[in-house]
């Protein structure tokens, strides 16, 4: 019933207990038998995770193959570093890397500041009803899919009918601008879109953490004559720090991965915008689905996964050096 590879993993990482007369293996089997019901419960989910997450992790190595469909994926010959040589010979690799990191860095930093700021501010709104209304409204954008968001942006930027194009830009003496042809505008458009979509929901997580802070701390601070600002910098922010660090580690680990929908749909996949909107994810997608260039896309995919892996490890060890308790693992 049990997948032997799981059993092996458990043997390795099971917590060390005081040595008992029985051997490790006998103990392991004893445990499996004793807890077979619980193991059976989590087995289906574990299998789905294995299929969706673990097999693709090993699959990154197809980047070293020269895939042809006659031999199949596993049977295709090894290609060494050829795919990578092609990838890095183009200027694409550099461009998509810079775009990906720059956008994500901007999103992480501004998202963190804005979300925490909004959370602290909304917590200060005394009128309960108003506070509820603000929260309800500001998380709403996150419930819209990126496809819907692309329509919203389109409604503003439509080259002929868009609200901005038709009614706002003429006030500044500009007529009929096709934003979908102007790459230099898109860093701002995408940043604004992303913040619109995510700051509200981001702040809810911090708000939950703020409401978890004991009121007594604030009472004591008030007794000591600390003003509101002093309380925020002295109590709220330090107590939010662990949550901020954990979320930032997760985000840093993902700095090589982008919000594909944002870069693919909101730009309408416009070829003219590639120089400022092409990121690793859209590059891999295009190589895989539109251009059918498996070598290039699997090399970019490998590059993304492996660098992502080291970024996670790096971010976590950084967090651990700062403070043991805030590291993820």
């Amino acid at each position: 019933m049990l997948n032997p590879s799981h059993a092996n993993e458990e043997a390795k990482s099971a917590p060390e207990r005081p040595a008992r007369p029985r051997s490790r293996i006998a103990r392991l089997f004893g445990n499996i038998v004793q807890y077979r019901a619980l193991l059976l419960m989590l087995l289906p989910t574990a299998i789905v995770f294995f299929v969706n997450c673990y097999i693709p992790m090993f699959g990154v190595f197809i980047a070293f193959k020269k895939i042809n469909y006659i031999d199949g994926i596993l049977g295709s010959p090894w290609a060494g570093l050829d795919n990578f040589r092609f990838l890095f010979a183009t200027s694409d690799a550099w461009r998509v890397t810079v775009n990906t990191i720059a956008y994500n860095a901007a999103f992480i930093v501004s998202g963190l500041i804005l979300s925490v700021g909004v959370a602290i501010a909304v917590n200060e709104v005394r009128a309960k009803l108003a506070s509820r209304i603000y929260q309800t409204v500001m998380i709403m954008p996150n419930f819209l899919s990126m496809v819907v968001v692309s329509y919203i942006v389109y409604a503003f930027l439509h080259p002929e009918y868009g609200f901005l194009v038709k009614y706002v830009l003429p006030l500044f003496g500009q007529n009929s601008v096709n934003a979908y042809m102007h790459p230099q505008a898109w860093p701002y458009i995408l940043w604004l879109t992303k913040m619109w979509h995510s700051v509200g929901i981001g702040s809810v997580i911090y708000l939950a953490a703020i409401t978890g802070i004991s009121e007594e701390l604030y009472e004591a601070a008030t007794m000591d004559g600390a003003g509101k600002w002093r309380q925020i910098t002295g109590i709220t922010i330090p107590l939010l720090t662990p949550v901020m660090v954990i979320l930032t580690i997760l985000n840093l680990g993902g700095i090589f991965r982008s919000d594909f929908g944002l870069f693919y749909h909101v730009t309408l996949d416009s070829g003219a915008l590639r120089s400022t909107t092409d990121v690793i994810d859209t590059y891999v997608y295009r190589g895989l689905i539109q251009l059918n260039d498996l070598g290039m896309s699997s090399a970019a995919n490998f590059y993304q996964s492996v660098v992502g892996f080291f970024l996670v490890i790096g971010a976590n060890s950084l967090a651990r050096r700062l403070n043991r308790d805030t590291a993820l693992f």
């Binding site: 099971a14 969706n52 993304q304």
Partner: protein
Amino acid sequence: MNKTSTAASCQRISRPAELALHAVFIVFSLACILPVLLIVAISLSNEKLLTLKGYKFWPDELDASAYRYLFSHSATLVRAYGVTLTVTCIGTALAVLLIALYAYPVYRKDFPFKRAFNIYLLVTMLFSGGLVPFYLLYINYLNLRDSLVALILPGLTNAFYIFIARTFFQQTIPEEMIESGKLDGASEWRIFFQLVLPISLPVLATIGLFTTLMYWNDWFNSLLFINDTDKFSLQYVMIQMIRQAEFFKNQLAGSGVALMVQQSVPTESLRMAMVVVSIGPILFVYPFFQKYFTKGLTVGAIKG
């Protein structure tokens, strides 16, 4: 949490500061909601006036003909709704069950493989094989092209929700309860289904709502795996419609894409009406989300 006193109010911010705070949030709220209202306004506008005057927040003339057209030529819409609803219902039910079934054992303190299975999950949150192997696995080995399974299966693995459910168990289900259940001779399965599940309804409802939303809004898997127009989901039809409009503009009159919605050539208001119809159900379940929001999501929960 502890509402022992009105401590928050014992140190109030000044009146002007409070007004400024309200002003900021009113502007912020409007910024969140107005863009959506723009879409609604366009969908209710007269087509001729739209092409003359562009998109406006205030339609010169209310006109529901886009909706009339949408519902009278509804074959595409109904089919897409059917696909989305099927995937959402089956996907959500399966996902919630799988999440609960995994979260419960890893919550149990006496479960000797707890740590191993926690790590098993954590790894999937941090590392990913990326798109290419995932795609090739689904297409070449699982043969899921044009199968609804390809729209459901990817959404079943969300480690984050499992951690949330586990934390909820830790906070609400005392170990003693499980122990006494065991002493009464109940099997593990009975304890799970008759003791644990009923208590954990709130967290499962929250996760269920999020999963519903995730499936409802999913377009990525359709983009990857679906070519058959009969299996286009709502979101995917919308993608086709906006791209198709661009095609027309560039006089490229899209090939296969154009065929699908041939008899309903997407005019300006019609496309926006489609968007409104797709977000309608979300607004409907929205109040339910609200209720659980500030409670359920504790992120520090990830650490075991």
